[in-house]
């Protein structure tokens, strides 16, 4: 069966985001099950006209489905839906950003007993950050203590959502039988062994007045998003279609969150939720996406999901399969056909599309082409995640060019040869997936060093090496990426002269070094009258840059320096590229010591989210870590504290924060800048460096 570019307006790319115990897996399985069932039913009927039945074996197999793939393709009532796996655990990695980027909408799953917990807050914050419209599903209405009304209050107070109930439950806890749809004003029950038969009835009389009251509230909230509905409500004749449209407007503009409920485990409420996905969440053409034109001064270009524009796709996830690398892509513009040539704008290389695949829950399907908005996979393509593929002739990129420099490094040592091979494979993969993660072999110590954006970031990869690649490694002490800089302008005048038989070496450089406020390094050439021949100017520049690689206080790179060259001398025979490089390097070293060099340390922007009752302890914990609190925002019972804290002080903060908040607070951090290390700490670092050097030489 080949499907060519389904109607984009029917397509949905959604994520299911949830707190860890809210039943995300069960709900996802149920969604796959019902979608498959509907799809199958349809097919079977088409062939022989007999209603679909499934034997229990098959059923069990279906139930065992868990989403391990980065995108699973299903169909609900003629609507193709891609369910995208959203890793919710580490929120500072680029991987999460990419998954969220390919979503057009999301279901936020909440537990009817637990309500909005701290992890739901993190997940919701991520979705908010990427402007993902969402609908909420209050799960586990069959549990003891279920209270969807409390959860909706949480949605309003803790997450700041304009949450609007679209359904009310028919019974809760043990008595949870079904739901009332407030738009159609019908009771919905789920019959059959797996709740696959949706039965619609009149609302039970005892719930009639409650339903009417809630419908009024719903209409009140929803009329905000449609003048047409507003008028219809005033005339007391709103149609279902008008309400749907208004809810859709409110949801897509992220000004309201429609709330649904049920119990995935008890097969209640899932089909209406799927109806809501196709009814209220945006299709790919509702969402504006942008790329940057590398051929046109990085101009921002709006991508067109319709029409004949050239193809643009983003590789958002790589997976290692038994047959090699699987690259998941989302197509943003144009279409991709088997055999097409595509251009990888990062590698500057063209490649041919061999196999184009759609991932279903239980199988893969080879397809011939895919259109805008679709999520498909390519086999055996050389690329890294985050790469942009375009039609040859276009030079767009979907990801920002800026990749922050790693701020922390860790030595890793494989325990045996087997682990060593596996580690190499793992590192090769990780560095492809995540540009903020790097690895290299240190030439001095011969150790493998991994680098990243924080302690947790590296922890995750060390853990993944063990789990996914069976690479058991020992880790050293995390090392912070210090920098060195100067604080004063100093002149230099250096003569490099060597006369040891044969041709000698001669070069003289004069100039100054001074602090540079913005940027890492600047070279200014003010040589006049050929005092240094033009061909040796680049040699000088090279020499200075070589000296920057390793500062003389603690051996870290030097930055924030402007070097001005204004005079010099050369010799007709003895001057050479090498002589000038050496002169520049030595001149720099000499001047550097006099220029009051200082050590810089990475400062992180830290955001802590915590129940307000622990805010005091959070303030104290930041204070103890040489942190500066920038702001604290209190919203209801929750506080968000933003601070700047030196990275070296952040080691072990996750544990510290967990214990001081009974596990209820969490934090994120990202690199902000390098700043000067206080005197007393600088002294310790210098002593440590000297000791290390002494050991190395002895």
């Amino acid at each position: 069966m080949i499907e060519i570019n389904s109607d984009i307006e029917k397509m949905r790319n959604i994520g299911i985001s949830a707190h860890i115990d809210s039943g995300k897996t069960t709900l996802t399985e149920r969604i796959l099950f019902y979608c498959k069932k509907i799809h199958k039913t349809h097919e079977v009927r088409g062939k022989d006209g007999i209603g679909a039945t499934m034997d229990s074996m098959q059923l069990e197999k279906e139930r065992g489905i868990t989403i391990t793939s980065a995108a699973t393709h299903v169909k609900w009532k003629d609507h193709p839906i891609n369910i995208i796996d959203t890793p919710g655990h580490v929120d500072f990695t680029i991987e999460v950003e990419r998954s969220l980027r390919v979503l057009d909408g999301a279901i936020l799953v909440l537990c009817s007993v637990g309500g909005v917990q701290s992890q739901s807050i993190t997940v919701d914050r991520q979705l908010k950050r990427y402007h993902v419209p969402r609908i909420a599903f209050i799960n586990k209405c069959d549990r003891v203590g279920a209270d969807p009304y409390k959860v909706i209050e949480h949605l309003k107070s803790k997450l700041g959502h304009n949450a609007v109930l679209m359904q009310v439950p028919i019974g809760l806890e043990d008595g949870h039988k079904g739901i009332i749809d407030l738009v159609r004003m019908k009771a919905i029950y789920f019959d059959g062994a797996d709740g696959e038969v949706v039965r619609t009835e009149d609302i039970p009389p005892e719930l009639r007045s409650e339903a009417e009251e809630k419908r009024e509230e719903m209409l009140d909230a929803v009329t905000m998003f449609s003048d047409e509905l507003m008028e219809a409500v005033l005339e007391e004749c709103p149609t279902e279609e008008q309400i749907f449209q208004a809810v859709r407007n409110g949801t897509i503009s992220q000004e309201m969150t429609p709330v649904f409920m049920g119990s995935a485990y008890r097969n209640k409420g899932v089909q209406p939720l799927l109806d809501a996905v196709v009814r209220y969440l945006p299709n790919p053409s509702d969402v504006e996406n942008y790329a940057v034109d590398l051929a046109d001064e990085k101009k921002k270009i709006k991508l067109l999901s319709d029409g004949e524009a050239g193809s643009v796709a983003l590789a958002y996830k790589l997976e290692d399969g038994p047959y090699g690398q699987l690259t998941y892509i989302r197509i943003y513009q144009g279409s991709i056909k088997k055999g097409d040539e595509l251009f990888n704008t990062r590698l500057r290389k063209t490649f041919r599309v061999g196999r184009l695949i759609r991932m279903h829950a239980e199988r893969t399907e080879d397809i011939d082409s895919a259109g805008s908005g679709e999520i498909v996979a390519l086999f055996g393509i050389e690329c890294a995640s985050g790469d942009t593929f375009t039609e040859p002739g276009l030079d767009y990129t979907m990801t920002s060019i800026f990749v922050p420099e790693p701020v922390i490094s860790l030595a890793v040592k494989p325990v045996d040869n087997n682990a060593s091979d596996n580690m190499k494979k793992a590192l090769n993969r990780f560095t492809k997936e995540d540009p903020t993660f790097r690895s290299y072999v240190d030439s001095e110590s011969n150790q493998t060093i991994i680098q990243g954006m924080g302690e947790l970031h590296l922890d995750v990869y060390v853990e993944r090496m063990k789990r996914e690649y069976r690479a058991e490694v020992e880790t050293g002490k995390p090392q912070v990426a210090y920098r060195e800089t100067i604080t004063q302008q100093v002149e230099f005048d250096y003569i490099h002269k060597k006369q040891t038989g044969g041709s000698g070496q001669f070069a003289r450089v004069k100039g100054s070094i001074e602090p540079l406020n913005k940027g890492k390094y600047e070279f200014v050439n003010k040589i006049k009258g050929g005092r240094i021949p033009t061909e040796f100017i680049p040699s000088c520049n090279k020499g200075f840059q070589a000296a920057l690689k390793k500062g003389q206080i603690i051996g870290f790179p030097v930055e924030g320096i402007r070097v001005t060259l204004n005079d010099g001398q050369s010799h007709a025979v003895d001057s050479s590229d090498l002589a000038f490089q050496t002169a520049a390097r030595e001149a720099f070293k000499q001047a550097y010591r006099k220029a009051k060099p200082r050590i810089l340390e990475p400062i992180m922007k830290v955001s802590v989210e915590s129940p307000s009752e622990f805010a005091g302890s959070v303030f104290a914990s930041i204070n103890q870590r040489r942190g500066i609190i920038v702001s604290s925002v209190e919203d209801g019972n929750f506080s968000r504290i933003d601070a700047k804290v030196p990275l070296i002080e952040m080691f072990g903060y996750a544990t510290n924060l967990r214990s001081l908040s009974q596990g209820k607070a969490e934090f994120t951090m990202e690199f902000k800048k390098h700043a000067r290390v206080p005197e007393n700490i600088a002294e310790d670092l210098i002593a440590e460096y000297k000791e290390k050097q002494r050991l190395q030489t002895s």
Binding site: A620, I622, I628, S632, E634, D635, S639
Partner: protein, 234 residues
């Protein structure tokens, strides 16, 4: 100009002189005007002046977003350093932001007890020795005298001075015959210093309508420069 000179020559010295050397610890000062005249800018100028003197300040806001307030501080700092040609402005800037914390209470109608509790926690557990607290966006029309008393008692207990902004709304006249904003009349016992901002033809002038227990001076020789939003000499 070096920082020391800048502090000495600040027009805020004129204000201090007019109010007997300053607001003083344990006291409440209020800056009142209609919306959009320049209350926030003036409060941020007052706060920045404290920060120049290495006095830690907490800026409490009920309405604005944090980044919006930070932008105010950045703008005011930029204007001051430009106007006075401040030397080593970057170092001074880095130094002053260490002494500033912004606390935002975004929930509508955050209770005074809760706000004061959070402030106290910040000062004690966070070891942030604030000397002044700026409160912006506080709604005097909805609050009670009791609330403001709690603020004053807190100021006394912690040894800090507290500056409020008061937004004046409603139909004219919004001032009584002594130039006191009508909405603040009930609060007068709790307020040590009361300043109002008003249009004086071409510019915005500062009026001192309550001056501790001394007779208020009325119009001060200070104005708000509309281009920079800084308090300046007339």
């Amino acid at each position: 100009m070096v920082k020391k000179e800048l502090i000495k020559r600040s027009p805020l010295r004129i204000l201090e002189k007019s109010i007997q050397g300053g607001l003083g610890k344990g006291n409440i000062g209020v800056l009142a005007s209609r919306k959009g005249v320049g209350k926030t800018a003036s409060l941020v100028h007052i706060a920045t002046d404290k920060l120049f003197q290495k006095k830690p300040v907490i800026h409490v806001s009920y309405a604005s977003r944090v980044d919006y307030i930070i932008n105010w501080y950045e703008d005011i700092f930029k204007e001051i350093s430009k106007k006075r040609k401040l030397e080593s402005a970057i170092e001074v800037h880095d130094e002053i932001i260490k002494n500033r914390i912004i606390m935002n209470f975004s929930q509508e109608g955050a209770r005074t007890e809760q706000v004061l509790k959070s402030l106290e926690v910040m000062i004690t557990q966070g070891k942030f020795a604030a000397e002044a607290v700026i409160v912006d966006g506080y709604d005097f029309a909805k609050a009670s005298v009791d609330d403001l008393r709690k603020f004053r008692e807190f100021a006394e207990k912690m040894g800090i001075e507290v500056w409020f902004s008061a937004s004046l709304r409603g139909n004219e006249p919004i001032f009584d015959k002594d130039g006191i904003p009508k909405v603040l009349i009930n609060y007068l016992d709790e307020i040590a210093v009361l300043l109002t901002l008003s249009f004086k033809g071409e510019y915005i002038g500062l009026n001192l309508v309550k001056n501790h227990n001394f007779p208020p001076q009325g119009e001060l020789p200070l104005k708000l420069d509309p281009a920079t939003m800084l308090i300046a000499e007339e």
